[in-house]
């Protein structure tokens, strides 16, 4: 292949950037954030090149695969590639990373130290991109873990409030999940003698005995569900979000959560189809509980960031519901929901970060009541993001949820009636989502005109937020742009499951 | 190389055994004596005996290195250390700790295991030492032909150990 250098370059560029920040002297403090923008721009450019090289007609198969033997004794190879399932997430990661870098230019959270901040962001970028590109179970696990350390530092040092406690909860919880996931991977590797995700997905995994599949699937799903987060494993999320700095929240919600659901679609569903068919109804039930629980709990929060964190639980519930249908529509819905949630919640956290920067808090009690009057543009963006998040048709957030419902009407698993009950409950979750976002807007945005005005949205904020706004609208009115990419790849995944059906 | 039993010693065997007994006895004194300076002196005896063993084993160069570095440098260094840390002159009960039984057990266990292993594996194996002689020139050629890279790396290590020792032993006022 002519473009085989692209994907490794996508990993190496931010890695080198992170190293440069590590080695840079004190004088780099001034230009570190600009350096971050430069590296992320290069990464974004490379991603665009990847998009250009990507053949949409063959999005069902892995493209631009790079393969090197690494630790043959442990069956571990270095193998990366992209297909229709991972490409959108790679693009999302690069985009959000760029937005975060632009935002950080003038707004590194307390206590400054731009070098370390930028270096950690770049390292985080390596882990996130690698997770989405890895085609080897152990490699996937490694990248999955690489993400944790920078995130811990971001929360623990640049965070606010009970940052240490939140950071420790985050790391304890997710590491526990990862360990369980690694055990599952080992079961798969020992049983099949291969860690090659493509081979495993193409029938090698399905040869495992049903009991082995079940063991592996439960372990892997357990680990991924922590990250997603699936109810009731979500409790690390609100704390982490509340404490994290703005860009940390954005990347946490925008990308990190997607790693869990991506792992399910990429690894669990095609590799362990028999097990997945038996687990799917339970997964669906947890997903719908998550939708309702997230919405109800959201309504009861008294802090903007916590509201959004719980709304994430609900949105990821829709993604999980989509996956649990195991149908083409449902998994497409899940992938679409992933991207949409990344864009929308990313924007929400940016805006809330902007509010926090201006008012010093995100707790309702400390916020002035009338954002619409004191900073109309910021208020508009908050309203826009909230409306997108509550699933307004015509904006990106709706399609993931709607298609998940359509998928739940015709699940590939035998328990159809059960899924239809879940369908109704999930649809109720959409109304509840509207309720809490309207409450937020009413509480934060609409109130008597204040005496002092806040600074409205600045140029650098526009620059970093506009791509998100534009993409939310574009994907909202033209969802097929994304679905065309994912559809063929999803078909391949679903075909592997279809064989496992009774 | 003809096979012979353990109980038919040659002259070399006898020489080695005697030297080895000296080394072991002196070593035992090192770890049991109640006078710290005596321990150092017994160490000299033990290591010197080992150097003799090397000579018997035809490892000429190694033997001289042993004498030069251990007897000449290390032991002197240790004596300096004792002096600087106000080591007690004369017998002292405080040199040995409380876990004598545990230590004895662990030491005996590992000695026994390894000993049994060796006797089991090499009881009848003989060394042919005729015609071998690792003189300084032979070892020098070997070191600088085949082992030059580790040798150089070792020199760097020594240098950094030197620097580290100096840095560590600087008094606090300067730091």
């Amino acid at each position: 292949m002519t473009s085989s250098w692209l994907l490794p370059a996508l990993l190496v560029v931010p890695l080198l950037g992170a190293l440069a920040m590590l080695l840079a002297g004190r004088g780099a403090e001034r230009w570190a954030t600009w350096f971050g923008v430069g590296v992320q721009s290069a990464g974004l450019l490379l991603t665009l090149l990847v998009m250009a090289q990507f053949s949409q007609t063959q999005s069902g198969s892995m493209q631009m695969v790079v393969e090197h033997s690494w630790i043959p004794e442990l069956l571990v190879d270095f193998r990366i590639g992209v297909d229709g399932i991972s490409l959108p997430l790679v693009v999302l990661t690069s985009l959000l990373g760029w937005c975060a870098a632009v935002y950080a230019v003038r707004r590194v959270a307390e206590p400054g130290r731009a070098r370390a901040f930028v270096g950690l962001l770049l390292l985080l970028q390596v882990g996130m991109l690698g997770t989405f590109m890895a085609l080897d179970l152990i490699l996937f696990f490694l990248f999955f873990e690489v993400v944790l350390a920078p995130m811990w530092f971001l929360i623990a040092f640049w965070g606010s409030g009970e940052r240490r406690r939140s950071a420790n909860t985050f790391i304890l919880y997710t590491v526990l999940g990862s360990v369980v996931m690694l055990l599952g991977f080992l079961v798969v590797i020992v049983e099949t003698g291969s860690a090659d995700m493509v081979a495993l997905a193409n029938g090698l995994g399905a040869q495992m005995s049903t009991s082995a599949q079940l063991t592996a699937a439960l372990l892997i799903l357990g680990g991924l569900a922590v990250k997603t987060p699936m109810w009731p494993l979500h409790t690390w999320l609100p704390d982490a979000h509340t404490a994290a700095p703005t860009v940390g929240s954005v990347l946490l919600a925008g990308v990190l959560l997607k790693m869990g659901t991506y792992g399910m679609v990429r690894i669990v569903v095609p590799t362990l189809p028999d097990a997945m068919v038996s687990i799917a109804p339970y997964l669906a039930a947890f997903a719908v509980i998550g939708i309702l629980y997230g919405a109800l709990a959201s309504y009861g929060q008294d802090d903007l960031k916590r509201v959004i964190a719980f709304s994430s639980v609900g949105h990821m519930g829709f993604v999980l519901l989509g996956i649990s249908t195991l149908s083409v529509v449902g998994i497409n819905a899940a992938l679409f929901g992933n991207i949409a949630h990344g864009l929308i919640t990313g924007l929400l956290f940016f805006v809330v970060g902007g509010i926090k920067q201006r008012t010093g808090s995100t707790a309702f009690a400390d916020l002035p009541r009338s954002l619409y009057a004191s900073a109309p543009r910021l208020g508009f963006l908050l309203g826009f993001a909230a409306v997108a998040s509550l699933g307004m048709p015509g904006l990106a957030g709706f399609w993931g949820e709607f298609l998940a419902l359509v998928g739940a009407y015709h699940p590939l698993v035998p328990e159809r009636l059960f899924y239809r009950v879940l369908l109704v409950l999930a649809a109720m979750g959409m109304v509840l989502a509207a309720a809490y976002f309207l409450k937020v807007l009413r509480r934060v945005g609409q109130g008597p005109a204040p005496e002092t005005l806040l600074d409205d949205v600045a140029t650098d904020e526009w620059l970093s937020w506009t791509p998100l706004v534009a993409l939310i609208v574009i994907l909202g009115v033209a969802p097929f742009l994304l679905l065309q990419v994912t559809e063929p790849a999803v078909r391949v995944v679903v075909e592997s499951v279809a064989g496992a059906l009774p | 190389m003809s096979e012979r039993s353990l109980l038919s010693p040659t002259g070399v065997d006898i020489a080695f055994t005697l030297l080895g007994l000296v080394a072991v006895a002196a070593a035992l004194m090192v770890v049991t004596t109640k006078q710290i300076v005596h321990a150092a002196l017994w160490l000299v005896v033990s290591l010197g005996a080992v150097a003799g063993c090397y000579l018997v084993l035809t490892a000429e160069f190694v033997a001289w290195m042993q004498v030069l570095i251990y007897l000449g440098a290390v032991v002197v260094l240790l004596l300096f250390g004792m002096m600087l840390t106000r080591a007690p002159i004369g017998p002292s009960e405080e040199l040995t700790g409380a876990n004598r039984v545990v230590s004895l057990f662990a030491a005996l266990a590992i000695t026994a295991v390894l000993g049994v292993l060796i006797v089991d594996a090499f009881a009848t194996t003989m060394i042919d030492i005729d015609g071998q002689k690792s003189t300084a020139s032979v070892m020098g050629a070997s070191l600088f032909r085949y082992w030059v890279l580790p040798f150089e790396a070792l020199s760097v290590l020594l240098l950094s150990a030197l620097v580290g020792a100096i840095a560590l032993s600087q008094s606090d006022e300067e730091a």
């Binding site: 009861g300 048709p393 015709h410 109304v431 | -």
Partner: protein, 616 residues
């Protein structure tokens, strides 16, 4: 890109431009808004000139193979309704230039109205169910934004949220219904899906029942009607738009659009008829005791919409659409006139009005015509459209419909009773506003500027003459009866019949007479019964008790649960880890030599184990 899609996109783009550029200057914002709507009206006229009733114009969507979106269908029905929507929206936009002169947020207001129009047009021309959903929900959003236009007032804030949430509750049903429709028919194209669903009674009943929930929300029918009267907190032009051209018309229109499916589900039709009867009479009675000009009109809208729903339930789609159009003109006229009164006087409370006849002559005349049309006085449009509904009820009573004949009788009786009540509240409204002595608050009141009264005058024209379009030449029935989902039939004129005419004239005279006779009696809500009725038969309290309070209780539970139980389990993980750590830490008290002892022992044990393993 079909012309139909263009018609939707032009006001949508105008909304976008208005939001981006409108802040620069007020005239620019007004130009963008009016220009966008006028262009849409132009496209609608162009579409009508293509005679879509003879041959429906079908536009394919984008994104073939995955989730096609943007398919359009313009048949006679869509074309006619689109014309009405564009026409009323344009007048509302023009009127707003005057009405919102003092408004600081005019640009976003005008943009939202443009978006509202675009959304309604999307519903009207939707050829796939997804475009329908987009338009449907965006309308809900626009109503929230516009009702909450004056969000500094608590009343407006609450009304906006209420409007959004109540309609959204109905939309659960709507969305699930669409999901069922798509899932069961395996297509997202509206005509195909409707045809397929009409062939399967189960799917038809389930889907149409669920979608009906959404319709009840949007068209403000019992029990999801509670938002509409509160929506008066929005500016008057917004009310005109919501009550005439967009929001409430969408519900009726969607049923008409999916009509073959509804005809295949008689149970749902019966339910619709019952709901319509309850709403029709109940809302009219509530309107009689209201003490606010716009609230009277709002309850009247609820009541009039029930006529349309009733007609749909009785299989008379043409009559329903006819009434929807004629009601749109008269109600838009009434709300704009009410807005003019409020603009001039500064209040819409009926106690503070009165004797305005001389100071506001144009408004007086136009509003009087509007009220007459609302009541249904010959020869205004309302007369003919209402008669067509009555005729449909009479036919149904004789067994000419999908539903049982008792349903027809009930609708007929309730309709005629409602006509009497309608005449009564219209008469009362007229008397309290225009006749009688002048109040202090209305001294120095002057007629509104031309930019506001010209739309009123323009609206008078259709309110007066529109009724004749359904008579001898049967223009209107020809336009609206041909749809893509149904074969082309011969259009019948919607002609009044003698029996119903006589009954309704008597009802009007009785109602208006009663209002005249009791005009000196204090008719504002008095006493427990009066305020009970005025508060919509206490329906809000029922909502409060059945929906809001349980919801808040559950929220409390979940929040508390999340704070305590799960939180404890999480910290349990942390504490557990530390406990286990300190347990393992116990042997390690800093005695290095003991560490080494254990290490050596471990090595010995390991070697022995390995040796034994090799030996055996």
């Amino acid at each position: 890109m079909t012309a139909a899609l263009l018609m939707v996109l032009v006001p949508a783009v105008a909304a976008l431009l208005g939001l981006l550029l409108g802040g620069m200057s007020r005239p620019l914002a007004a130009a963008i808004a009016v220009g966008g709507t006028a262009s849409a009206l132009g496209v609608a006229l162009y579409l009508a000139l293509l005679e879509p009733w003879a041959e429906p114009l079908i536009g394919t969507g984008f994104g073939e193979g995955t989730l096609p979106l943007g398919a359009t269908v313009v048949d006679g029905l869509a074309s006619t309704v689109a014309l009405m929507v564009c026409f009323v929206s344009l007048l509302v936009q023009i009127y707003s230039i005057g009405y919102m002169r003092e408004e600081p947020r005019y640009s976003s207001y005008a943009a939202f109205i443009s978006l509202f129009t675009a959304a309604m047009l999307a519903v009207v021309v939707a050829g796939d169910l997804l475009l329908l959903v987009i338009g449907w929900e965006v309308m809900g959003l626009c109503s929230y934004l516009l009702i909450g236009q004056r969000w500094e007032q608590e009343e407006a804030r609450r009304a906006a949220v209420k409007a959004f949430l109540v309609t959204k509750i109905g939309d659960i049903g709507f969305i699930i219904g669409i999901v069922v429709l798509i899932g069961a028919t395996a297509t997202t194209l509206l005509p195909d899906a409707v045809r397929a669903a009409a062939d399967d009674p189960t799917v038809a009943t389930v889907a149409s029942g669920l979608i009906l929930l959404g319709v009840l929300g949007k068209s403000a029918q019992f029990p999801l009607h509670a938002w509409l009267p509160d929506a008066m907190a929005g500016p008057s032009p917004v009310s005109a738009l919501i009550h005439a051209a967009t929001m409430v018309a969408a519900g009726v229109y969607v049923v008409a659009r999916l009509y073959p499916m509804y005809l295949a589900a008689p149970a749902i039709l019966t339910a619709m008829a019952v709901i319509a009867c309850v709403t029709m009479l109940g809302a009219a009675v509530i309107a009689v005791v209201q003490d606010d000009l716009k609230r009277v009109l709002a309850w009247s809208t609820v009541s009039q919409l029930a006529y349309m729903v009733a007609a749909l339930a009785l299989g008379a789609r043409d009559a329903a659409i006819f009434h929807m159009l004629s009601h749109a003109f008269s109600k838009a006229l009434l709300f704009l006139a009410a807005g003019a009164v409020i603009h001039a006087v500064g209040s819409g409370a009926l106690r503070e009005l009165g004797g305005l006849r001389r100071s506001m002559p144009v408004t007086f005349i136009t509003m009087t015509i509007g009220l007459l049309a609302l009541v249904g006085v010959f020869p205004l449009a309302g007369f003919f459209s209402k008669e067509s509904v009555l005729v449909a009820a009479e036919h149904a009573a004789h067994g000419d419909a999908e539903v049982a004949s008792w349903v027809g009788w009930t609708v007929l009786v309730v309709s005629i009773l409602t006509i009497a009540v309608t005449a009564a509240y219209a008469q009362r409204l007229w008397l309290l506003t225009w006749s009688g002595p002048r109040r202090d608050s209305s001294s120095g009141v002057r007629e509104v500027p031309a930019v506001m009264f010209v739309p009123l005058v323009v609206l008078v024209v259709p309110a007066v003459v529109f009724g004749f379009s359904a008579l001898e030449r049967a223009w209107l029935p020809t336009w609206i009866q041909a749809t893509v989902t149904e074969p082309l039939g011969t259009a019948e004129a919607l002609r009044p019949e003698v029996a119903t005419v006589v009954l309704s004239v008597v009802a009007v005279i009785v109602g208006a007479g009663a209002a005249l006779v009791f005009r000196h009696r204090e008719t504002f809500a008095r006493g427990r019964a009066g305020s009970f009725v005025a508060a919509g038969f206490g329906f809000d309290a029922v909502y409060q008790g059945l929906v809001v309070r349980p919801f808040l209780v559950v929220v409390g539970w979940v929040t508390a649960f999340d704070r305590s139980a799960i939180q404890r389990s999480v910290s349990g993980v942390g504490v557990g880890t530390l406990r286990a750590g300190s347990l393992l830490q116990r042997p390690y008290r800093g005695d290095v030599q003991r560490y080494v002892s254990s290490a050596v022992t471990a090595v010995v044990v390991a070697i022995v184990v390995m040796l034994v393993a090799i030996a055996t």
